[in-house]
C-alpha cells in the first residue's frame, strides 16, 4: 500500500516509521470495498432517502399544522395527535425501535436526515414520552402481556404517556425520590407527588419511579418502575404555569392510588436500571441541529426586517458578528454530531458524546432565542397570549413575528435544566470520560 511505483517520490521506509500515503485512490478504491473514506457528500442512496422524506413531508404534513409550527403558535393535543397518526400510517413514527416492534430499520444516517428534514419542513415533534421513553423500556424489560397491551397503542397514538420522575425533593438528585408504593395483595398502593410532568394533563398513562423498599442500603436500590393509568382514582393533576405564561408542565399527586401488580416493569426494586436505560436510549437527535438551523434562519429573517439606524439590523456589524459566531458554533455542533454518527456507523458503541451534544445543543437553542429577543427590540414588550393561539384575527401589535419571541426566550430557559441539567451533564462527562 505504499506509494512507490506510481511515479511518486521514492520512499525510504524506516521500519519503525512505515509511511503509508493516505491517498484516496480512485483506481484501486480504499480499504473498504466501495467506500470513499472521509467525505461529506451524501451517498446516492441517502440522497434518494432524503428526497423520499421531502416528498412525503410536502404531501402529508397538514398545512395548518405546518403554519402553526412555522409561526411559533401554540400546538394543541390534536395537532400532535393527528401528525402522530399520519406518521404511524406511513410506518415512520418510531425510527429507533427494532423492526419487529414497528421500527423502520433505518441507518444512523437516515435517522439523522429524517430529523433534519422534518425540522426543515416545520413538522411538529413527536411527543417523546411514549415512543422514545417508555416504549423502549417496555420492549426491552417488559413482559409479553405488557408488550402486547402497550406497544401497539403507543405506536398508533391511542395512548398518551407522561413521565413521573422528578419530585419536589428529587430533581438533579433523582434517586432521592420518595413517592411510595406499598404492596397490598394484587396491587401497589401509591402515595406521593411527581412534578415538572410535561403534558400530564393530556396523558392516558404515566410511567413512574416509585420507592418500594425504603430500607435499601443505597437510594438507587429499592426503586421500581410502575405503569399507572392516569384515570385511576386518587390521581390529581395541577397545572404549573411557567414564566412565559404557558402550561406545559404539572404537579401530579397520588393519594392511595391502587395500581395492579401486573403494571410493574421488570423486577421490583430494579427500577433504577430501567430508568438509566431510558435516559441513555434516545441519543439520536439530542443536539437538535435541524431545529436550530430552522430557528437560525428565522432569526436571520427577523434581523433582515428590523431596522437599526435606518438600515437592516442584519447589516449592523455588531449584530452580524453575533449571528456569525452563533452559526459557527452550530456548525461545530453539527460536525461533532456527524462525527459521532460516523463512529456509530462503523460499529463503535455510542460514548458520552450525547452529554456534550445536550450541553452545546441547548446553549445554542437558548442563544438563538436570546438574539431574536434582542432583534425585535421594544416589540418584545407586548404580552398578548391570544396572539399565539390559532384563529386570533386581530391586527398584530408590532411586527407579526415579534409576538412569540419573548415567550419563547423565557420558555426556552428550561432547555439547560431539563433532561439532567447542563451542570449534571458536565458532572457525568467529568466522571465517565475524564475519569475525575
Amino acid at each position: 500500500m505504499t506509494a512507490s511505483g506510481r511515479g511518486a517520490a521514492t520512499l525510504l521506509v524506516r521500519p519503525d516509521c512505515i509511511y503509508i500515503s493516505g491517498a484516496v485512490r480512485p483506481d484501486s478504491g480504499t480499504a473498504c470495498e466501495g467506500r470513499v473514506a472521509m467525505n461529506i457528500e451524501l451517498t446516492s442512496a441517502d440522497q434518494a432517502f432524503r428526497d423520499e422524506v421531502r416528498t412525503f413531508l410536502a404531501t402529508s404534513l397538514p398545512p395548518d399544522i405546518k403554519r402553526r409550527v412555522e409561526n411559533g403558535l401554540e400546538l394543541g393535543r390534536e395537532d400532535y395527535a393527528s401528525w402522530h397518526r399520519i406518521l404511524h400510517e406511513k410506518g415512520w413514527v418510531a425510527p429507533g425501535w427494532p423492526v419487529d416492534h414497528g421500527g423502520t430499520g433505518w441507518t444512523h444516517m437516515q435517522r439523522y436526515l429524517y430529523d433534519e428534514e422534518t425540522a426543515a419542513a416545520s413538522a411538529p415533534r413527536i411527543m417523546p414520552f411514549g415512543v422514545n421513553m417508555v416504549g423502549p423500556v417496555i420492549f426491552t424489560f417488559g413482559n409479553r402481556a405488557q408488550k402486547a397491551r402497550y406497544l401497539p397503542r403507543i405506536l398508533s397514538g391511542e395512548d398518551w404517556w407522561c413521565q413521573g420522575y422528578s419530585e419536589p425533593g428529587a430533581g438533579s438528585d433523582l434517586a432521592n425520590l420518595r413517592t411510595r408504593a406499598v404492596r397490598d395483595g394484587d396491587v401497589y398502593v401509591v402515595n406521593g407527588q411527581k412534578t415538572w410532568t410535561t403534558s400530564a394533563h393530556w396523558a392516558d398513562h404515566i410511567f413512574c419511579l416509585v420507592r418500594t423498599d425504603p430500607e435499601a442500603a443505597k437510594p438507587q436500590q429499592g426503586i421500581s418502575f410502575l405503569l399507572i393509568d392516569m384515570r385511576s382514582p386518587g390521581i390529581e393533576v395541577k397545572p404549573i404555569i411557567t414564566i412565559d405564561g404557558g402550561h406545559e408542565v404539572n404537579d401530579v399527586f397520588f393519594e392511595d392510588v391502587r395500581v395492579p401488580v401486573e403494571n410493574l416493569v421488570g423486577e421490583e426494586n430494579h427500577g433504577w436500571t430501567y430508568a438509566k436505560f431510558l435516559l441513555s436510549f434516545e441519543r439520536a437527535g439530542i443536539a437538535d441541529v435541524g431545529r436550530s438551523k430552522k430557528q437560525l434562519a428565522g432569526l436571520k429573517r427577523i434581523a433582515a426586517a428590523e431596522l437599526s439606524n435606518g438600515r437592516p439590523l442584519s447589516e449592523d456589524d455588531r449584530f452580524r458578528e453575533k449571528i456569525a459566531s452563533l452559526e459557527i458554533d452550530l456548525l461545530a455542533l453539527e460536525y461533532t454530531e456527524l462525527r459521532a454518527l460516523s463512529r456509530q456507523t462503523s460499529g463503535e458503541e455510542p460514548g458520552t458524546e450525547a452529554n456534550i451534544l445536550k450541553i452545546r445543543g441547548t446553549e445554542i437553542q437558548q442563544r438563538i432565542t436570546e438574539l431574536a429577543l434582542e432583534a425585535v427590540g421594544t416589540y418584545a414588550n407586548p404580552y398578548v397570549p391570544e396572539a399565539l393561539k390559532d384563529g386570533w384575527n386581530e391586527e398584530p401589535i408590532g411586527p407579526e413575528y415579534a409576538a412569540g419571541v419573548a415567550p419563547r426566550y423565557f420558555n426556552w430557559r428550561k432547555a439547560s435544566i431539563y433532561g439532567g441539567s447542563n451542570e449534571i451533564q458536565k458532572g457525568i462527562v467529568a466522571k465517565l470520560v475524564l475519569e475525575l
Binding site: M1, A3, R6, G7, A8, A9, L11, L12, V13, D16, C17, I18, Y19, I20, S21, G22, A23, V24, T30, A31, C32, R35, V36, A37, M38, N39, I40, E41, T43, D46, E321, I323, A324, E327, I328, D329, L331, A332, E334, Y335, T336, L338, R339, L341, S342, R343, T345, S346, I356, I359, R360, E423, K426, G427, V429, A430, V433, L434, E435, L436
Partner: protein
C-alpha cells in the same frame, strides 16, 4: 458521508505519532529550538525520506497525490509534538504556490528539490500596516527589459532566513488593497537589494522582516499571469489555514491531556485537584472546546476542493473557532497548572504560546468571523 479514517489514514497517523514519540520528545524539541537555525536539517531530511514532504503534491507535481485529510493528519501530529520544522512556510505555502501558479519548467525546477529536502522556501506576503487583509500588497513590481524590479517591505516572513527562495507578492497595477494586479515572484534569498532581518518568534520559530530595494528578477521569476495571482494566493492560504487549524487541534489536545493528568495527580487540601467540582467543569469545557475545534478543522479540510465560497466559509468558520478555542484551552491549561503553568520549564507554556501565535496566522478569530459573515 463518512467521517472516519480509512486504513491508510490511520496508518499515516500512527506512523507520525511514533516519530514524535521516538524522535521528537520535548527535550529534543527544546534543543532544536535553541539551535542557530531553529530547526533540525536532519529531521527535515527524514521528513523528505519518509515522503511527508510529498504529501500535499499531486503525482504530476512529483508528489503522492494524497488527499487533504492526509495533510490534516500530519499537521495534527505536528501540533501534538510542537514540531518546529518549517512545513507550513516551505511546503504548504511556498511549495503549493509554485505548484498552483508555476509553469511546467518552474515546477520541475523547484518542486523536485523541495520534495527531496534539498531546498527551503518561504512566502513573503504580509506587509507592515496590512494587518490581515489578504489583498493588501503595497510592494511594487515594475516591468522592464528582461524582467522586473521589486521594491517594498514584507512583515513576519516565516522561514525567510533558511529559505533558498522566497515567493514574494508584488503589485504591478491597482490600488494597495485591490485583488487585481498582484503577481508572485520567485526570489533567491541571495539576490542583491533583498535585506533579510531575522529574529526568533515567541513560539520558538524563526521569521524575518524583508526589505526589497530595487531587487532585479528575470522574467522566469514570475509565477503565473502578471497581476492575476490573488485567487491562487487565497486558495493556497486557505489550505494552509485549514492545515494550521489541525495543528492547533493537536496542540490543544496535548495541552488538555497534560492538564487532565495534572488534575489527577496534584494534591491540595488533602485531595487531588480533580476532586473539586469547579475544576471538573472547567476540564469538561476544555474537552468541548477541543472536540468542536476538531469537528470544524475536519469540516474545513473536507471543503477545500468544493467551490470557492464554500471553501472560504468553512475555512473561516474553523479558523475563527480555533482562534477562540485555542486561547481558551491555552489559558485554562496555564491556570489549572497554577504557578507551574507560567514556568518556562513546563511544556504547557510552550504550547500556549504556539496556539496564541496560530491565531495570528493569516487572520485572527475576529478577521475570520467577519469573513465568514461576509460569505453567509
Amino acid at each position: 458521508m463518512d467521517l472516519s479514517y480509512s486504513e491508510d489514514h490511520t496508518l499515516l497517523s500512527e506512523s507520525i505519532a511514533r516519530f514524535i514519540q521516538n524522535d521528537y520528545d520535548f527535550e529534543t524539541r527544546s534543543r532544536i529550538a535553541g539551535s542557530d537555525l531553529g530547526f533540525d536539517p536532519a529531521v527535515w531530511q527524514q521528513f523528505a525520506d519518509l515522503g511527508w514532504l510529498a504529501i500535499p503534491f499531486s503525482e504530476d507535481e512529483g508528489g503522492l497525490g494524497a488527499d487533504p485529510v492526509s495533510v490534516m493528519i500530519l499537521m495534527e501530529q505536528f501540533g501534538r509534538g510542537l514540531v518546529l520544522e518549517p512545513y507550513v512556510p516551505s511546503i504548504l505555502l511556498g511549495g503549493r504556490l509554485i505548484a498552483a501558479t508555476g509553469g511546467a519548467e518552474q515546477r520541475s525546477r523547484y518542486l523536485g528539490d523541495l520534495i527531496s529536502g534539498k531546498i527551503q522556501l518561504a512566502f513573503g506576503h504580509g506587509e507592515p500596516g496590512g494587518r490581515y487583509a489578504l489583498a493588501h500588497v503595497a510592494t511594487r513590481a515594475e516591468g522592464g527589459a528582461g524582467g522586473f524590479t521589486l521594491s517594498g517591505q514584507k512583515a513576519v516572513v516565516h522561514n525567510a532566513e533558511a529559505a533558498d527562495f522566497i515567493i514574494v507578492s508584488a503589485r504591478s497595477s491597482g490600488e494597495v488593497r485591490a485583488q487585481d494586479g498582484i503577481s508572485l515572484f520567485v526570489v533567491s534569498r541571495e539576490t542583491p537589494g533583498l535585506t533579510v532581518r531575522p529574529y526568533r518568534t515567541v513560539d520558538g520559530l524563526r521569521a524575518a522582516e524583508l526589505v526589497l530595494e530595487g531587487v532585479q528578477v528575470g522574467e522566469d521569476a514570475l509565477l503565473g499571469e502578471e497581476g492575476g495571482a490573488y485567487p491562487a494566493i487565497e486558495a493556497v492560504t486557505d489550505r494552509a489555514v485549514a492545515a494550521v487549524c489541525s495543528e492547533a487541534v493537536g496542540a490543544m489536545d496535548l495541552l488538555r491531556e497534560t492538564t487532565l493528568e495534572y488534575l489527577k495527580t496534584r494534591q491540595q487540601f488533602g485531595r487531588t485537584l480533580g476532586a473539586f467540582q469547579v475544576l471538573q467543569h472547567r476540564a469538561v469545557d476544555m474537552l468541548i472546546a477541543c472536540e468542536e475545534a476538531r469537528s470544524l478543522a475536519l469540516m474545513a479540510t473536507l471543503s477545500l476542493d468544493r467551490t470557492a465560497p464554500e471553501r472560504r466559509r468553512a475555512v473561516s468558520a474553523a479558523k475563527a473557532h480555533v482562534g477562540n478555542a485555542g486561547r481558551k484551552v491555552g489559558q485554562e491549561a496555564v491556570q489549572l497548572h497554577g504557578g507551574m503553568g507560567v514556568t518556562d520549564e513546563l511544556k504547557v507554556g510552550h504550547y500556549f504560546k504556539r496556539l496564541t501565535m496560530i491565531d495570528t496566522f493569516f487572520g485572527d478569530a475576529a478577521h475570520h468571523l467577519d469573513r465568514f459573515a461576509g460569505n453567509a
